[in-house]
């Protein structure tokens, strides 16, 4: 929308929450990652623009994605020359090695993605996920640059020696844990460790002028940044002001009034504003309704009887009314009907439907037949769990009615969103003990390729005792075997068919029943230029925006 190359001006952004961390190694919110693109460069990044091409990692600090050797275990990257921290120091391969070493110190640097330790722990992590052979660079001086699985043969070369084959490693190199960190800043107790959060040294076109939690983040141009080293950041505005803890309704009104340029939260406008937008053509012209990359689904908890029987699970798939779920989530502007667990914004995505016809409505006959097949022709009783705010309660009620129509009675239990994922559905022992059968869930990928989406939610080996994300507790050995085959492929493209089969198996086994791909109706100010939704986050790409 509104292409332009004019530089200058101040971009005004609002968001209803706050970033979790400014420390690039610790942040895990999608909109926080969008903001980090402005000041934290990474080894690789995603291209500007949309479509499948934008889902393939491209050069940022490194000259390009690596071609692995040694059976997908050795990955070498060359750094571009002329990349500097905001204080003028040149970035070397050691700074990137150190940045990744920090993520091993989970008692200090926690909160962010933990893939580095998983694949770079010498000898592999133990069964509880701890790396006992390297604990981070804070214990003693020898630990700094002490991680043996990353070698830095020269200042502009870095080599990763993974402890197992992993064809999607280039995607891991897009994560902000690879954003370089200066040892002299991080090893100083005043500015480093947990305090680095307030002393982030920028490598991107902008640096942090001020960060006040829950109030605002102000970014100004980074004088040490060399635009000739970068192909993805036009960096048009001179300043970017992000106001956090914005009241949602006020934010919408301000965007309508053009006093704020956009809501970077990416979850869309409030229902009242949605009505206003759809009725006003001038507002509709500056709105976008992208698929965000989140899939909404019902986890059918196979540890809770009678869902241990596949036919009872499939009965739910046939009985669920996806159109009603879509309505509850805001109609066609709130979601698109889903028949696959992976969203269309995933690299290598292909559409399929294991339950044909259900995209239009439930199939009561097939549902009842499934019930008979699992030995419950007269139905059974179960419990639905959902969050108690937003769209959850309505969705649960629709599901309850759908199940009643085929003879399954269900009561609904609602929980606070803050603890729902980590303490309720994330603790498998509790689910089984309390007899919960169906849980509403949503998931978005850590990176837009199959492993980044599927691994934590369907791999049977990833059923954690606490903070679990494999809610359905899918335990089909076929899934494990397919994932292993996928990981041993030598290129992401070769993996796609295996992950495709993983998705199909999960759907056939009815461990998770997807119903919508999330959509969000976003509104922008009329002066905003180069607006589009970057597919890996499902949020507007901050890198390209202009205001002049």
């Amino acid at each position: 929308m509104n292409p332009s190359t004019a530089k200058g001006g101040t971009l005004n952004v609002g968001v209803a929450g706050d970033v979790d961390y400014m420390d690039p190694a610790r942040t895990y919110y999608a909109f926080s990652w969008d903001i980090h693109q402005l000041f934290s460069r990474t080894l690789l990044t995603f291209p500007d623009g949309v479509g499948q091409q934008a889902l393939q990692p491209t050069a940022d600090i490194a000259t390009g994605p690596a071609t692995p050797t040694n059976g997908d275990k050795t990955w070498s990257y060359t750094l571009k020359p002329g990349i500097k921290f905001q204080d003028g120091t040149t970035v070397t391969s050691k700074d990137i090695k150190y940045a990744i070493e920090r993520t091993f110190a989970t008692s200090v640097i926690n909160g962010g993605p933990s893939y580095f330790a998983t694949f770079l722990c010498p000898g592999g992590e133990n069964s509880s996920g701890a790396c006992t052979t390297y604990g981070g660079p804070y214990k003693n001086k020898a630990a700094v640059y002490g991680l043996s699985t990353i070698s830095t043969p020269s200042a502009n070369k870095i080599v990763f020696h993974l402890n197992q084959p992993f064809s999607e490693w280039n995607y891991v190199m897009t994560l902000f844990g690879t954003s370089p960190v200066e040892v002299k800043v991080d090893q100083n107790p005043k500015t480093g460790g947990a305090n680095y959060n307030n002393n982030v040294q920028a490598t991107g076109p902008y640096k942090i002028a001020s960060y006040v939690p829950n109030k605002h983040i102000d970014l100004v141009r980074n004088p040490a940044y060399d635009p000739t080293t970068d192909g993805t950041r036009p960096a048009l505005p001179n300043k970017i002001n992000i106001t956090t803890s914005f009241d949602s309704v006020t934010l919408d009104n301000d965007i309508v009034a053009n006093t704020v340029d956009l809501d970077i939260g990416g979850t869309g406008v409030q229902p009242a504003t949605q009505a206003k937008i759809l009725q006003t053509s001038s507002l509709k012209a500056r709105a976008l309704d992208p698929i965000t990359g989140f899939t909404r689904y019902i986890a059918i908890l196979s540890e809770t009887p009678p869902f241990n029987n596949i036919h009872c699970r499939q009965a739910v798939e046939w009985a669920m009314n996806k159109k009603e779920q879509q309505d509850a989530r805001g109609g066609i502007y709130g979601g698109a009907i889903a028949t696959t667990l992976g969203p269309p914004t995933l690299a290598g995505w292909k559409n399929f439907n294991e339950y044909p016809g259900t995209e239009n409505g439930p199939d009561v006959a097939k549902a009842k037949a499934a019930l008979t097949a699992c030995g419950k022709p007269n139905g059974f009783h179960t419990t639905i769990v959902v969050t108690n705010q937003g769209k959850g309660p309505q969705q649960a009620q629709f599901l309850q009615n759908d199940l009643k129509a085929v003879g399954i009675t269900a009561n609904i239990k609602e929980f606070d969103p803050a603890t729902y994922y980590s303490s309720v559905i994330g603790v498998p022992a509790n689910l089984k003990k309390d007899g919960y059968g169906l849980a509403f869930a949503g998931w978005g990928p850590d990176w837009p390729a199959p492993y980044g989406f599927f691994e934590n939610i369907v791999d049977p080996r990833k059923i954690l005792p606490q903070g679990n994300s494999n809610y359905g507790a899918c335990s089909d050995p076929k899934i494990t075997s397919l994932i292993q085959q996928a990981l041993s492929q030598t290129s992401p493209a070769a993996e796609y068919p295996f992950w495709q089969q993983v998705d199909e198996t999960v759907n056939k086994d009815a461990c998770d029943a997807p119903f919508t791909y999330d959509k969000a109706l976003d509104l922008f100010s009329s002066r905003l230029k180069n607006v589009y939704i970057e597919p890996q986050f499902g949020i507007v790409d901050l890198r390209t925006l202009g205001v002049s």
Binding site: N110, Y138, P189, K215
Partner: protein
């Protein structure tokens, strides 16, 4: 008087301790009742058991309840150090800990949000005290007249209309309304030290809305206590002595009627300082009220504790001040 003050001070401290124990316990015991490790909440997505254990240890969540509580209370007076070596985080006194969510010092977060509530309280309280009491006195003196009836009807409206209604209405008219009425576009909080004029300008709408609500209460209260007082014997005596009417009203009647006003005023200002949740929400100010909402939603225990203690502290102190003020306002009250 001194003994009275000491007794009240000790009582206030006890109240604060009890509140802190209860708040602490709620966060400590509730996850245990739900059979889940509270550390999982702060450990990021799909955390390994090792990560949860590390987070648990870092936040001190694996220690027994009284150890955690004692560490927290001690930190307020002498400061606290979390972790060891290079990665140690030092928290100077008064240490209310670090946020579980973004690692910021809680004391810093609260004190940076406090100016919002101080600003709201100062302006609104002066406006509502003066207009409320004045209206009440006038209504009492002109009891039964058109003025009285109009004033009390308006006051009734003020008492019944919630702040989020008056606030949103005022914004709709003066902020987002037609151009010729847009006197206060883009209302947001500006610090006094940043620009006193902008500070005052952005506070006019919240001040007026808040004051309308409280002034109404004070007007009605003042009116009824004045009416009651005006019919007392000592007022008749004062008039009989030939004192000017002005002296009778202000030096004698009002002075006696003011005691309930003083009580309520102290409480109201104390509560307001602890966070004006609805007002902040409506006008988009990030004060202690908003901080409380955010931290409760995030289950950010240290911040919730800090905010709760601050709010309780203001109310306790306000109460003590009010009780002392009694002795000076009402000559019948002595502390011995």
């Amino acid at each position: 008087m001194i003994r009275f003050l000491i007794r009240r001070f000790v009582g206030g401290v006890i109240v604060l301790i009890v509140i802190s124990i209860i708040t602490f316990w709620l966060f400590y015991a509730l996850p245990k009742l739900l059979h889940s490790n509270p550390a999982a909440l702060y450990a990021g997505r799909s955390p390994s058991p090792a990560t949860i254990a590390a987070v648990s240890q870092k936040l001190g969540l694996d220690k027994p309840f009284w150890t955690q509580y004692w560490d927290f209370m001690k930190g307020i007076f002498v400061g606290r150090t979390f972790g060891t070596g290079v990665a140690a985080a030092v928290c100077h006194r008064p240490c209310l800990g670090f946020s579980f969510i973004n690692n910021e010092p809680v004391w810093g977060e609260i004190t940076s949000d406090l100016p919002v509530d101080i600003s709201l309280a100062i302006g609104a309280s002066i406006i509502w005290l003066t207009t409320g009491v004045a209206t009440g006195v006038l209504s009492a003196l002109r009891s039964g007249t058109i003025f009285d009836r109009t004033a009390m009807t308006v006051a009734l409206a003020g008492v019944s209309l919630p702040i989020y209604f008056t606030g949103l209405l005022s914004l709709a008219i003066f902020s987002y309304g037609p151009h010729w009425l847009q006197i206060f576009p883009n209302v947001h909080f500006v610090g006094f030290t940043q620009s006193p004029i902008s500070w005052a300008r952005n506070l006019v709408l919240p001040w007026v809305c808040l004051a309308f609500l409280y002034a109404a209460l004070y007007a009605r209260l003042t009116r009824s206590t004045m009416l009651e007082t005006m019919s007392e014997d000592f007022v008749r005596t004062a008039r009989a002595k030939g004192l000017p009417e002005r002296t009778v009203i202000f030096r004698h009647a009002l002075r006696s009627a003011i005691t309930p006003i003083v009580t309520i005023f102290g409480l109201d200002v104390g509560l307001l300082l602890g966070g004006a949740v609805l007002t902040e929400q409506v006008f988009g100010f990030v004060g202690i009220g908003k901080l409380a909402i955010i931290s409760i939603g995030d289950r950010d225990l240290p911040v919730v504790l800090g905010v709760t203690l601050f709010a309780a502290f203001f109310v306790v102190v306000a109460n003590i001040i009010v009780d002392v003020a009694y002795a000076y306002v009402d000559p019948r009250v002595t502390y011995s």
